[in-house]
Amino acid sequence: MKIKTRAGSVVFENVTKTYGLGAVTAIDNVSFTINPGELVTLLGPSGCGKTTTLRMIAGLEHATKGKILIGGKDVTQLPATDRDVSMVFQSYALFPHMTVLENVAYGLTVTGVAKAEAHEKAEEGLDLVGLAGYGRRLPSELSGGQQQRVAVARALVLEPEVLLLDEPLSNLDAKLRRQVRTEIRELQQKLGLTAVYVTHDQEEALAVSDHIIVMNRAVIAQQGTPRELYEQPASGFIADFIGDANLVGAELVEIDGDMAHIEIGGLRQTLPHRGLGIGPVNVAVRPDAIELSAVNGESGQSSLKGHITHAAYLGNQMQYSVTSDIGDLFVIDPHIDAPIATGDEVRIGFSGRGLAVVPTDE
């Protein structure tokens, strides 16, 4: 006996969820597809609807409109008990009155698996997450990271079609977080699981996901691979949410094949136009894509100038706040040996990477 995988897909078709007779819309006409074996992250600020979406996959919330399919089967009306998914809760939700082994075996025993068999399988589950031999302890006798792994084991032994993780790392300290997220990713890839992962931490999302669905205000703002989202943000919101970005006004002056000539505060840049036409656009500028140089120095040729209003030393980088003609800018500069003082005038330039054209917010 081994823990097997029966990865299934998840499909949302025009799903809407409202609370309180339609007063509050948590999810507004959302559609997406999650392929078998993928780890997909639902990412977004608090209240964007990502947790509601996850709970609807679990069957803990029910769609007001639309259709939900898991493994090709319509489960829209199915309660959580009858769905073939399992979930790792933010609080882990380990039953404090049961031992670790009883916790992991719980899902098996309540669905009618014989006790001996359930315990054997639970042992395997614990082994899988590296907790063999911890079965007889109580959850309260484990560390936070261990509890988290018990929660994962408990979800995995049911061999669900889809594994759901609701901010599984938020109760861990920062160092442990990085380690556990790697473990989860490795386990998911080893078993070929379909996993849906909710987080509000964009770095975590970039690190673990095959695919990211960014949600904002009850709708999907953009979905794609981590690289697509970072390098080709569809809007100012995405650019700002995935990594930081300075959103500056610019003018698209000329289109040349896939590329376009953009004027930003008198500087000319050539960037992919991404389907935008001639006229005003926004450019998302990553903080590390801005190059600053002292005005009296000879190195900078740019005609765009600004003033440093704040400078901070962070060990491996300098962070500056700059006022300029194109607005206030946030700048990260790796040159810690030549810091610029607050109040100094600087020339502003752009490196080739880290700029993307996005539509202006209407």
């Binding site: 679990a58 009306q77 309660p79 008990t81 809760f89 933010q90 959850p139 309260s140 509890q147 109760n171």
Partner: protein, 746 residues
Amino acid sequence: MNRMLWIWLAIGWIGFVIFPWYQQEYGFWTLEWLFDGYPTYVDYAPAILQATLLDKYWLLPVGLFLLGPLLLARQGRAHPKYAQILIISGLGGLIWMVGQGFAIGISGWSYGWLESLFGPLDMRQYGLGYGALLMAASYLIILCTGLAAAGAMRGDVFVTSAIGTVVALVALFVFFPVARILGSAFVDIDGAVSGAAFVRNFFDDSVWGLGCLAGGACGVAWNTAFLAILTAVSTTLLGLAFALVVTRTGFRYKKSLRVLTVLPIITPPFVIGLALILLFGRSGAATQFVSDLLGVEAGRWLYGLPGIWLAQTLSFTPISFLVLIGVVEGVSPSMEEASQTLRAGRWKTFVMVSLPLMRPGLANAFLLAFIESMADFGNPMVLGGNYEVLSTEIFFAIVGAQNDAGRAAVLALVLLFFTLSAFAAQRFWLGRKSYATVSGKAESGAHIGLNPALRRLVYCTAVPWGIFTVAVYGMIFYGSFVTRWGFDNTLTLDNYVDAFGIGWSEHGIVWTGAAWDSFWTTLNISAISAPLTAAVGLTTAYLLVRQNFRGKSAFEFGTMLSFAIPGTVIGVSYILAFNVPPFELTGTGVILVICFIFRNMPVGVRGGIAAMSQLDRSLDEASLTLGANSFTTFRRVILPLLRPAIVAALVYSFVRAITSVSAVIFLVSADHNMATSYIIGLVENGRYGVAIAYCCVLIVVMLAAILAVQGAIGKRKLRREDRIAPDRLTPDRVSPAGENLKEKHS
């Protein structure tokens, strides 16, 4: 889940075909019927034979509805009309059962228009029995299964059935009796329905008269309200003083003050009154001391408003204390600390921050004491004198020479109006105004001490009153060993021998004491009702905390309602509702058990809600996503985690059943006499010594029960430290393991 349906269907058929349809004369548990003419004798026959052999053809449809679910035998859930068939069968069966029960009573048709419609009927029927009980349960579950199949509660049969059962029970044992009171209020003394009777009784000068303004006596409604307000004010102030002493001062005997909070739970309600008689009655210790000292004639001042007020303040201050400890502790220390860092001194902080934050809690304590005072029966009974209050007037209207059910019903309505208004105010007005500052977040910081002047004030209030309370309780025990209080103060055990004497004969032990009968009945009935109360209460709490459904707030209101219905009103309403078929329960032990269940249910519900709110919802959700259904989740996750609450509910309902008097006094019978009503009888006969001895025994029994349980489950208090303990599972807050490690999101 389908299996459960078939089991319930089988139970229904068993009820129809095998068990006697009508109630058995000789008690619920007797098997006499089996050996005396069963199955064809008319008193013992099951419904199917009643309908066929004994011409009670109207009972046939009772069983016909059980045929419906059989249509589903082959296809089960796949049957296209599965839900409809179950709903029609269940609803039809229930309606027909209840309908025929009300239509045909002990003298044929119950209503004239039925007789004129169908012609005379020279058959009669009695209260519903085992068979009917089984069938009603069966139909109810069939109906709920059908509703679930039609989509109720997302198809969850367990939850639907639980809701259905609680609703049915509350409707039958709370709303139906209260409705009967309403009906009876319109019946005059000869039994004829008339609005005039209601108007006469309601607007009678003895109810609303304002004679006291002119020096005479006021109506009983005003008396009751006036007393209730006095008591509420005094208990709230004293309770606040005690709460402040315990939480905000360095008082050395805090622990012993906390013991005070247990007292009202284990004190039969008229015990304080008795003790006050021993102290301040005409031959009381204090009275005689003072009259000897000053040479004045001993007065009767105790009998009347002052005595009742004093007794109620003694009785209910601990309750206010208990409520206000929570309120005072609930004010977040960080707010007080914030106030102090903003340069406010202790006095300013108390007046401008702490006190306003406590205001809803104070109002709550006030309303609670108001309701308790209104509902109090024991103290006015013992100390009332000429001061009439509603609860005792209702009693005398029923049992007195007048035997005027109409008047009793009207008075009950007036009383109900008062208490329900207070209850509604508490729920709807205060409900929105809670400043409860105890959150799930770990909070540190200590409450600041009181301003010195204020501290002296609360000491001067709380300490003498505490000593007085101790003296009163001391009186009770001392009094039980005195031959004849005030006349012959020699110590004796006679009182205990009278009540609890044990003798030996050749047949073994003989319980010669006069109190043994009622003592065993009391323990017996209380022990039966306690687990049932806990079960109903906790199930209701589960539904309220964990399930969402339409009409939930009405459901909650209904289940908490009996808390606001004074015992006397319940007693009267049960007599009116359950004295005639189809629910003929008076004179049985069953009615006592049922009365206790629904009197004490709100306590179980509250305890359950409090305990369950501490359980993180994700525990249930985890169980559900792991494939357990709601019943398994309830049984394997929630119930084990609620064990302390369950035990507390068990003990509390046991003890409350023992001390309850107001409702019980209407419902006891020769066969089922309860301790409290027996003691009232002793008091009425002036046998104070024996009465007090009996009370002492009860107090000791209850104290033993509470201490045993406290020892078993450990102390349960809300303490701040518990919530910041990082790696320890405290019984106070059962969180999913690891919850405590949660750090704030950035």
